[in-house]
């Protein structure tokens, strides 16, 4: 598993993107009118950029990237084929949403956004199934689904909070109502808290295998919990832009580092039956 860096980038980027769309979806179903969100197009474009960066990482993993057009030929049997197809569908949905927001912003609502949320959900499901190999017991358990869902919620909530800060905090002219901003901050953080809770649940489901070490990076949960505490302080000191920026930066570093460490641990836990 020397070459897992590209896969760490791919999985985390795509999961962060799916989480971002889910955050917007949750906000929309929570009563936020999407066209009222400042810079919705920029938000969706950033999410699309994350997917493209993830796909770039995936290309780096391939020995023969120029043959990659063959990669969706086994849709009936291979979850890797399904993953590639579903991430492509997710990309297409995001492009459609961006175009729609440019051409007919009045049509943007939670039901239209479902196109992105559902295709993102499909991509996430296919991504988890790729690792549910019956010959790899260290991955073939429900903890894999929970761990990937956890990263989706945590990173989605985080990047939406950062974008919200950049769009409204630094440019007060763009801000929505105070109530709307506060609601969004709470929704995004709630997503991340749910994500971290799932991570602890997933850790409990990991099978105990002989050579799978659980001792590496054992401070990762502390790192992420610390990040969450900083995030809470960030919300509480509303109004002080400088300290908010510092806190948000530290939060991002803690949570993203924690996610990267967790994903490296996941790939290092690979243990196959047989030879």
């Amino acid at each position: 598993m020397r070459d897992h860096w590209s896969l760490v980038v791919f999985t985390l980027m795509v999961q962060s993107a799916v989480g971002g769309v889910w955050c917007l979806q949750l906000a929309s179903f929570g009563g936020i009118n999407l066209p009222n969100l400042p810079h919705l197009t920029h938000q969706l474009a950033f999410i699309l950029l994350l997917v493209f960066m993830g796909l770039g990482g995936a290309f780096l993993h391939l020995g023969k990237p120029f043959n990659s057009y063959h990669a969706i030929k086994n849709l009936n049997n291979s979850w890797l084929s399904k993953e590639i197809a579903s991430v492509s569908i997710f990309c297409s949905a995001l492009i459609l949403l961006i175009l729609l927001d440019q051409v007919r912003p009045d049509m943007m609502n939670g039901w239209i956004l479902l196109m992105g949320s559902l295709s993102g959900g499909m991509a996430l499901y296919a991504m988890t199934r790729v690792y549910r190999l019956k010959t790899v017991p260290s991955w073939n358990h429900f903890g894999t689904e929970l761990a990937f869902l956890s990263s989706t919620l945590t990173l989605g909530g985080l990047h939406c909070t950062i974008l919200l800060y950049l769009q409204t905090g630094l440019n007060p002219g763009n801000t929505g109502s105070v109530g709307q901003d506060a609601f969004l901050k709470v929704v995004f953080m709630a997503m991340a808290i749910a994500g971290l809770a799932l991570k602890y649940l997933a850790a409990g489901l990991k099978p105990s295998l002989s050579s799978v070490s659980n001792t590496e990076f054992r401070n990762q949960p502390i790192l992420q919990s610390g990040g969450l505490a900083l995030w809470m302080i960030y919300i509480l000191i509303n109004g002080n832009l400088f300290w908010q920026a510092i806190l948000l930066l530290l939060t991002a570093i803690s949570l993203i580092a924690g996610e990267i460490i967790h994903r490296i641990q996941f790939y290092n836990s690979y243990e196959r039956v047989g030879l």
Binding site: K64, H70, K73, S78, L80, L133
Partner: protein, 212 residues
């Protein structure tokens, strides 16, 4: 004249395999494989211990045997199921091969195969694996590994005929449970052979069989 068996299968008598690795050398030579690429590997499985008895003597149950393994051309090949490109495919005889024109080098087949059969050729960025020396077999010859085996522990032929060579054909450690992929290969168990997935022993030569 085509002398290809309908369902070719390898047979290994682990009782007489000496672990000489001539099969590996023959395979590398025949297929001109790069250094580190091994379509066939010989696993040394060892275990047991010495116990001191109350009367001051020692009793032992140590064991060691060799299992020469290549692709088993499984009836339910997980590499074929997982390959996203269909580069990994199975022909009408059940032989699993890689179409390198389609392979993208994602190594997903290597993750999945419990026999380490698909090997990654880093210089080409592609997977390769045992093809049963089809060119030889079709003309009445034998796969290079079989032809070279000095003790005749390795042989090949029609699957049903190979089954008759051994009264017992249980899967032995360190091979995985055969229900996972239904390998089309017969391993005549060593007299000290441990059942599949047994934890009684360990692979003594992991460096020689690790993924390329």
């Amino acid at each position: 004249m085509n002398r290809m068996p309908n369902k070719p299968a390898f047979f290994l008598d682990t009782q007489i395999c000496t672990g000489c690795k001539t099969c590996i050398v023959a395979c590398v030579d025949k297929n001109d494989l790069d250094s580190g690429i091994r379509w066939r590997r010989v696993v040394e499985y060892t275990g047991g211990k010495w116990d001191s008895m109350p009367d001051g003597t020692f009793n032992q149950n140590v064991f060691s045997y060799y299992v020469s393994v290549s692709c088993n051309h499984c009836a339910e090949p997980i590499c074929v199921q997982t390959c996203p490109t269909t580069a990994m495919h199975q022909d009408k005889h059940g032989i699993v091969t890689v179409d390198q024109n389609k392979c993208i080098g994602c190594r997903y087949c290597r993750w999945a195969c419990p026999y380490s059969a698909p090997q990654y050729e880093a210089t080409k960025g592609l997977m390769s694996k045992c093809n049963f020396c089809v060119d030889e077999v079709k003309t009445g010859g034998a796969p290079a590994c079989v032809a070279a085996c000095p003790t005749r522990a390795l042989s090949f032929g029609e699957y049903d005929a190979m089954l008759n060579l051994s009264a017992q054909h249980l899967t032995i450690a360190p091979l995985p449970d055969e229900k996972l992929t239904s390998p089309v290969a017969i391993f005549k168990p060593h007299k000290m052979g441990k059942p599949a997935a047994s934890k009684d022993g360990q692979i003594a030569n992991p460096e020689e069989i690790k993924d390329a």
